[in-house]
């Protein structure tokens, strides 16, 4: 598979299936790793960065798990292609903004990706739809072992894996689960739930990670502590305790809305559909906000014009880089708003 084929279908994480997929959009695990014999990126010379990029891509592509990976040179990539990778959650905004030799290796189904030279030399990522942290961990762990058999990682028996930022030291693991919580927001319980999560030392963020807003009622819940707990203990807290609890709250809030405020709920869902079908100019933010009640409507059996797979398709291809890629040209904000509305009318009309 090539990069040009990659963007033509949504990745595995947008399949819309997997356990608890009515609320859990995706499960992600990232591991921070650094080469033992190289400086961290803050002091690395341009030649060090190039050497790290080359050495890591060689190691990944020579493992069975990474042999058929697509390697993207982010430094040389077209700005639209970089944004496209961010929209697909394969690289971070920080990786786009970084400097020097850097890139990403991506497995053909996009369940595995390794960002090279972001904040750490490697960020090994596993991503799947629904609540599948165990499967994601098994993918990531296997790839981590395969890379470690060829590269010595910076490791200390007391502090574990050594990372550029001391907040990631130890396991270097970041577990992030993306949740769709429209009913908790509508019933104004979201702040209470977010506070409870923060009390458990979890970060609650928007769908594109640190510093982003929760657009379309999508929230990312992730761990902050990486030292003093084993990977499986951190993962189990998410899969057995935190996430099932949040899913339970969201489902209960949806039932309350459906039982006691059915007319308002249907109005919100169908009005959103009306705007998407008829708008002449629409931003990506507004599109995502309108898709949110429809997503909930589909899961509650109150909306039947299209299914979750189609919704996820629209969700992805109305984002700026995907839209421009689809149309094959660069568009400014104004042109994009009009092109997005055209695309939606054709898709939904």
């Amino acid at each position: 598979m090539t990069f040009d084929e990659l963007w033509k279908t949504p990745g595995e994480w947008l399949r819309g299936d997997g356990p608890m997929s009515d609320v859990v959009i995706s499960s992600r695990i990232r591991l921070a790793r650094n080469l033992a014999d190289q400086p961290f990126l803050a002091t690395a010379a341009p030649s060090d960065r190039t050497e790290i990029f080359r050495c890591v891509t060689d190691a990944i592509t020579s493992t069975p798990a990474g042999a058929d990976s697509i390697v993207v040179d982010v430094e040389d990539a077209d700005p639209i292609d970089r944004s496209l990778l961010v929209e697909r959650h394969l690289i971070s905004r920080q990786h786009v903004a970084a400097e020097g030799a850097r890139g990403v290796t991506i497995s053909p189904d996009e369940t595995l990706a390794v960002m090279i030279n972001e904040e750490d030399h490697l960020r090994i990522q596993g991503l799947r739809s629904g609540l599948q942290l165990d499967n994601v961990w098994s993918d990531v762990n296997r790839l981590d072992d395969a890379i470690a058999s060829q590269i010595a990682f910076a490791f200390d028996k007391q502090l574990g894996y050594l990372t550029a930022c001391p907040t990631n030291v130890g396991t270097g693991i970041r577990v992030s689960v993306m949740l769709h919580l429209p009913a908790l927001r509508l019933t104004k319980e979201i702040d209470r739930v977010a506070r409870a999560a923060r009390d458990l030392r979890l970060a609650v963020r928007g769908s594109y990670g640190e510093g982003t807003e929760a657009v379309g009622d999508l929230y990312q819940i992730s761990n902050q502590t990486t030292l003093g707990k084993a990977e499986d203990a951190i993962i189990n807290t998410f899969s057995e305790m935190i996430i099932p609890k949040m899913v339970e709250y969201e489902r209960a809030a949806r039932q309350t809305l459906a039982q006691h405020h059915a007319a308002q709920l249907d109005d919100k869902v169908w009005r959103a559909y009306g705007v998407l079908c008829n708008a002449r100019r629409i931003t990506s933010g507004e599109t995502q906000s309108l898709l949110s009640p429809i997503r909930m409507g589909i899961h509650l059996g109150r909306f039947d014009r299209f299914d979750i797979a189609a919704l996820n398709d629209i969700f992805l291809y109305t984002q700026s880089a995907h839209l421009q890629k689809l149309l094959g040209r660069t568009l400014d904000d104004d042109e994009r708003a009009a092109a997005r509305a055209d695309y939606l009318r054709k898709r939904l009309g």
Partner: protein, 163 residues
């Protein structure tokens, strides 16, 4: 009509207020100055790095009062305080005494890794972290009153200690 902020005289005033005490007067401020005066409180998203930097500026460096430099990469602790990221793996050893309070603060008091060990790490390290992990697991099982699990973990610890 756009009015310049009366406080900084630079940005455009977007916050317009009328004071009634001690006397009636109109004020026009930009968002930043309004925030500084405590008129609007912005719920800003604080990134992990910002929290970290605030912490290292206020606490970590104070105790020592002097700077340390890593002999390998040349980064100083002061530089780390500004950047928020370290220069090389050796900084953990070089800045040890200054970094430790920060690491403990960021990780709920933890000071010892109990997770995965890279396959190339020497067998003593692997055994040590393996044992630590099992002991933590044993403690958790006892706290949960899961005695069956606790007995199983205890046996694994015994086998590992004897090996």
């Amino acid at each position: 009509m756009s009015v310049a902020c009366q406080r900084c005289n630079q940005s455009k005033a977007t916050v317009h207020i009328t004071d009634t005490v001690p006397e009636k007067r109109e004020r026009h401020l930009c968002e930043q100055c309004a925030e500084k005066e405590g008129i609007i409180i912005k719920q800003k998203h604080v990134t992990t790095n910002e929290i970290l930097q605030q912490f290292i500026k206020h606490k970590a460096g104070m105790a020592a009062g002097e700077d340390l430099a890593c002999p390998k990469c040349g980064m100083t602790f002061r530089e780390f305080q500004t950047k928020g990221t370290l220069g090389c793996p050796n900084d953990y050893a070089a800045f040890g005494s200054l970094l430790n309070p920060l690491i403990q603060h960021a990780h709920e008091g933890a000071t010892q890794h109990v997770g995965k060990v890279p396959p190339d790490a020497d067998s003593t390290t692997q055994k040590l972290t393996g044992l630590l992990r099992l002991r933590r697991e044993l403690q958790d099982a006892v706290e949960r009153e899961d005695y069956e699990r606790a007995a199983h973990v205890r046996d694994r610890i015994r086998i590992m200690e004897e090996a």
